[in-house]
């Protein structure tokens, strides 16, 4: 991970609630979160639906734009003051000309596929309690980094339900 972060030539600071990306933009950058936290969401008929979070030492990317060079529907917003390092698609492509680096990148993408599969099962799980328990087991750190109301949205339940499940 260290190698790829060293590629970055630009750091940006986002204030609380500032947008890194809005719906419809083409954004092929990879963002490394130095500090703070971000959420990726879509607006579904005026209602926000959080899809992913990124916090300290995570990579955040609009993967659809990154892969296709086309506009993406995702919003990326800072939950609190956040510092991100930008790695451009071009910088990454140059980096991936080395065999070893390709192996590293493939591992990252494979891991992402596995995470997405887990997330798919999350969303299809009917019981709110089980949805909560799956995430708690998988990423306990999430509950340290992200405010409850955003996690509740991510889990597709009301903040009240989540807080009740946390107590029980």
């Amino acid at each position: 991970m260290k190698d790829i972060i060293e590629l970055s030539e630009k750091t940006i600071i986002l204030g609380r609630n500032e947008y890194l990306k809005v719906k419809g933009s083409v954004d092929t950058n990879i963002y490394f979160v130095e500090s703070g936290s971000l959420r990726v969401f879509v607006l579904d008929d005026c209602e926000e639906q959080t899809i992913r979070f990124g916090y300290k030492e995570n990579l955040v990317v609009s993967l659809d734009s990154f892969l296709t060079d086309k506009p993406s529907d995702f919003f990326i917003q800072a939950i609190k003051r956040t510092v991100v390092k930008i790695i451009t698609k071009q910088q990454l492509q140059t980096f991936l000309k080395t065999e070893n680096n390709i192996t590293w990148w493939t591992a990252i993408l494979e891991n992402l596929v596995l995470q997405q599969l887990e997330r798919e099962v999350d969303i299809l799980t009917t019981s709110p309690k089980q949805r909560y328990e799956r995430i708690l087991k998988r990423s306990p750190q999430l509950f340290q980094e992200i405010p409850l109301r955003h996690i509740a949205n991510y889990l597709r339940m009301s903040p009240e339900t989540l807080s009740r499940l946390k107590k029980s």
Binding site: K21, V22, G24, S25, P71
Partner: protein
């Protein structure tokens, strides 16, 4: 001009606008309502002025897209009048004064921080409309102006005019912020 380039640059402008408006929420109400002279607007009034325009243009743009019946086009060419209106909104180095229509003048209207929330909601709406506009012609789709329903502009020009107008007043807000800072330091 390539339509895709125009839309991308307008979406990026909107991202910056929405971030700026969010930051205004952290400023104390006292400063947001502070005016430099009896005739000049405070920060909330600048935003309310923009909201009044939004109240008119956002539904007009939405209806124009919905009833357009055209397809997206690769190229956009500014109309004569649209180009003139959009350019006239660009702030000069020294912010030039412009006349305000009476029904868009919020001077001395009682306002609070909900004005900022409304402004932010309008920007999210505008981002949505910019996205929807990708499916229609920015040339052939026409939008009524607030001056007269007889004067219509191309959708692409309306977007540029509308966003330039917002940027113009955000620049005015920046100027007010600086004036407040300087006057509170010198006191």
């Amino acid at each position: 001009m390539q339509t895709e380039k125009l839309t991308q640059s307008l979406i990026e402008s909107e991202r910056q606008i929405i971030n700026k408006s969010g930051n205004l929420k952290t400023i104390h109400l006292k400063f947001l309502s502070c005016r430099q002279s009896a005739e000049s607007w405070n920060i909330l009034e600048c935003l309310e002025h923009l909201n009044l325009y939004g109240d008119f243009y956002l539904p007009e743009i939405e209806a124009a897209i919905k009833n357009s019946g055209t397809k997206g086009e690769a190229e956009f060419k500014s109309g004569f009048l649209g180009n003139y209106f959009a350019k006239s909104m660009l702030p000069k180095d020294k912010l030039n004064k412009m006349k305000t229509f009476k029904n868009k003048n919020p001077l001395n209207k009682p306002l609070d921080k909900t004005v900022i929330d409304k402004f932010t909601d309008q920007q999210l709406k505008l981002i949505e409309l910019l996205n929807q506009s990708k499916n229609v012609s920015l040339n052939k789709t026409k939008v009524k102006t607030s001056i007269s329903s007889l004067i219509k502009l191309k959708l692409g020009d309306t977007f540029q005019f509308f966003i330039n107008h917002i940027n113009r007043h955000l620049k005015q807000i920046e100027k007010i912020e600086n004036e407040i800072k300087t006057s509170s330091i010198s006191q």
